[in-house]
Symmetry: C2
Subunit: 440 residues, 2 copies
């Protein structure tokens, strides 16, 4: 009566009935996900029970720890610098990791960054980086450790060694409508991040139309839960709550966002991308003791840009990961779409709204994203020169540029984008981008 | 965005969020279970969401209909008799189907009966019948139809043709702690039963320590839900709520229960088995118009026993399904366990309680049941001559006989049974066995 399968069912039943699971039960579940001793249908039944019944902070902490221990953590003990990563909960046009990591490394931090791929409406840092010809994101753990030790920063994807339980559970969650669940999100994000060998973590928790969490209160709840897990594991965690109503920046699409990131590293990126990048960088520098005050941190970040050190660090990363470093100088080395069409405004006015979800949908139709994990991405396509809320548009002016593989898709995207960009007779003050800083 | 997998996730998410599913969504789910277009982990996630969120009566009716339509129903249109089956929600020592089916057939009803197997603490009619040497329960649908037409009764297992969606879903529910859920139970039971080509159905819904539902109120809820589904499909349904605190009868174990069933067909079975058998049979005869009043129905059933017609019908079934019909005369033709030990009472007194779960556990240890679907059953082992609540026991008297394959298991069973049979200084009046009749 205490054989494997019955024990599995008893664990599922206990969560189903609303009980908190014991440490042994949670570790049994995560072990089952890792070694296959739980069937996928048993894992997904428990995931749904967790979605509906929740987990206590203590259960969530055990879940995270079990996910970390499901694999081998990165060993960065020989890196003397303060090691800090950044995680964003995902948005549209969010390319902040790409300028931020080299800036922070140029300022003296070590940045061991493990990123994700595009899925659904959100983009993925890995896909953006892979639009750089030759760029490898699939570095083995040893090479990752070595690169962080050597140049202070590496930007890679989840390896087979790191948190394998999360890879299994995330794929199941995606297929079973159990993604948006704070304890499961915490276990997934922090399970990966705590495997990186970091000292500190900054979080960009997004809310709004283009974010996973629409409401700020729910984003704050997630930020607090993530911070609690990090703190319980002895890591410093700070979180920004940032608005995701319109896309971040003026580009959505992989190579287009790399080009915009290079603009940021040259100090001429869009104001909103610069603002979020600097705000996250400030917290990283403060956590790492590189700066003592926020203005001091800001000055150091700006200095890394104006001196060219951040751009040089970016080129160094690209070269180290076998990409073409010439993209740091000339976006012409990035892939370009054959069709480039402007979306022309049929009236004059002020931009009232650019629905991030609408832009994401247009980018998906163009082939810039994925609706399934196995979808292939076209690195060249997307949207650029997007107007921002509060800007004025003349009749006949350009609302954005559409970059497409063919004319049919370009027209489909144009139809979507037309409905997505809203003009009005009066200038609206855009809502503040950074709503709150938690843990500073 | 409306491709297969996303649609699946949207259905799961809607139930997760507590919405009633549309007919199209429920049929999509059942089709997905039947044709494999839903992954097992998606089916189980939805099953857990249904367990926690429930289903409306209308959703349950659609689920049941979709399960019926997942296969081909039996065609008994050429059988002129009233066709009625009986279903029990399962208990310990519940062998009622074995005497009831031939009695009802001997009285002029057609009984197309599809039964289940032992699982967990409950026995299964199929396993009991298969203890008869040669008895085949895996009849193809055509042979089942032909036998019902020819001799008025057949006792078989679920075929590949009938309700295949239920087979899939039941196996998943068993592995994911989603069995005890009224809409899912309704879909499973009625999906199978409505596939049999019946006109009416009697239900034995058990409550108490040895039943799936401990509380009578919950058993009544299930009985009403099952009746509603049957009625909505144009079938007559009547339900008995019966107590399952001590085992039914004096035997638990497959061949031992067949021998006791033969005793019932000879009119000398234990009082409680006779009472439940007659009570269910009465409802069947009344539904089929074979009798106009309960006493008339009872008299006809008793007559089928005293005349030997019911026993002869049993022998006819056994012969038709390739079993050895001599078991109807002599239990010596059934398999016998090598070890037979009495459990001797260490004190004198009145039997206060015989915990059905304790007896079931002892029978499981002896090898009479299954803890997993793939476990092999020993047909010979079990418990017989079990005392009943309210009986007197002398010091040194026999509380039961243990039938075992070896001495080690016999001793293990003895230890469990000792703790299971409780004596006291005063005679307790046993609770009524039949608590309620619904739908009569």
């Amino acid at each position: 009566m205490t054989s494997g399968p019955l024990f599995t069912q008893a664990i599922i039943a206990r969560k189903r009935d609303g009980h908190a699971l014991s440490e042994e039960e949670i570790r049994g579940f995560v072990r089952g996900a890792t070694d296959g001793s739980w069937a996928d249908y048993q894992l997904s039944a428990l995931l749904m029970a967790v979605w509906l019944r929740g987990m206590t902070p203590q259960e969530t902490a055990v879940l995270t720890d079990a996910i970390v221990r499901s694999g081998s953590a990165a060993d960065l003990s020989r890196v003397p610098r303060y090691k800090v990563d950044k995680h964003s909960t995902g948005g549209v046009g969010d390319k902040v990791s790409i300028p931020l990591a080299p800036m922070a490394a140029a300022c003296g931090l070590a940045v061991p960054m493990i990123s994700g791929r595009a899925l659904g409406h959100t983009g993925g840092t890995l896909d953006k980086l892979e639009s750089i010809p030759g760029f490898r994101t699939a570095l083995p753990l040893r090479e990752f450790e070595e690169q962080v030790a050597r140049i202070g920063v590496a930007l890679i994807g989840q390896t087979a060694e790191l948190a394998p339980a999360d890879r299994k559970l995330y794929a199941l969650r995606d297929a079973t409508a159990t993604v948006e669940c704070i304890p499961l999100i915490c276990g997934s994000i922090m399970g990966k991040k705590l495997s990186e060998g970091i000292d500190g973590l900054v979080l960009d928790v997004k809310f709004g139309r283009g974010a996973f969490m629409r409401e700020k209160a729910r984003a704050r709840e997630l930020a607090l839960a993530l911070s609690a897990i990090g703190t319980a594991s002895g890591k410093s965690v700070r979180a920004l709550l940032t608005a995701m109503e319109e896309p971040l920046g003026r580009t959505v699409g992989n190579a287009l966002e790399v080009a915009e990131s290079v603009d940021c590293l040259k100090g001429r990126g869009p104001a909103d991308v610069m603002e979020v990048t600097y705000a996250l960088g400030q917290q990283m520098l403060l956590m790492g003791g590189i700066a003592r005050t926020a203005p001091e941190a800001r000055a150091q970040l700006e200095q890394s840009v104006s001196s060219g050190a951040a751009l040089a660090k970016f080129a160094e990363i690209v070269a180290a990961q076998d990409g073409d470093p010439r993209v740091a100088d000339d976006p012409g080395f990035l892939p370009r779409a054959p069709i480039r069409l402007p979306l022309v405004s049929e009236s004059a006015g002020f931009v009232r709204g650019v629905d991030a979800m609408g832009v994401a949908l247009a980018a998906l139709r163009l082939g810039a994203g994925r609706t399934r994990a196995e979808d292939r991405i076209d690195p060249a396509v997307g949207v650029s020169a997007l107007v921002k809320v509060g800007e004025t548009v003349a009749r006949g002016g350009t609302l954005c540029m559409i970059h497409a593989a063919d004319r049919t898709r370009a027209e489909e995207a144009r139809t979507i984008l037309k409905a997505t960009i809203e003009l009005g007779p009066e200038r609206l003050a855009p809502a503040p981008l950074i709503a709150e800083v938690i843990g500073a």
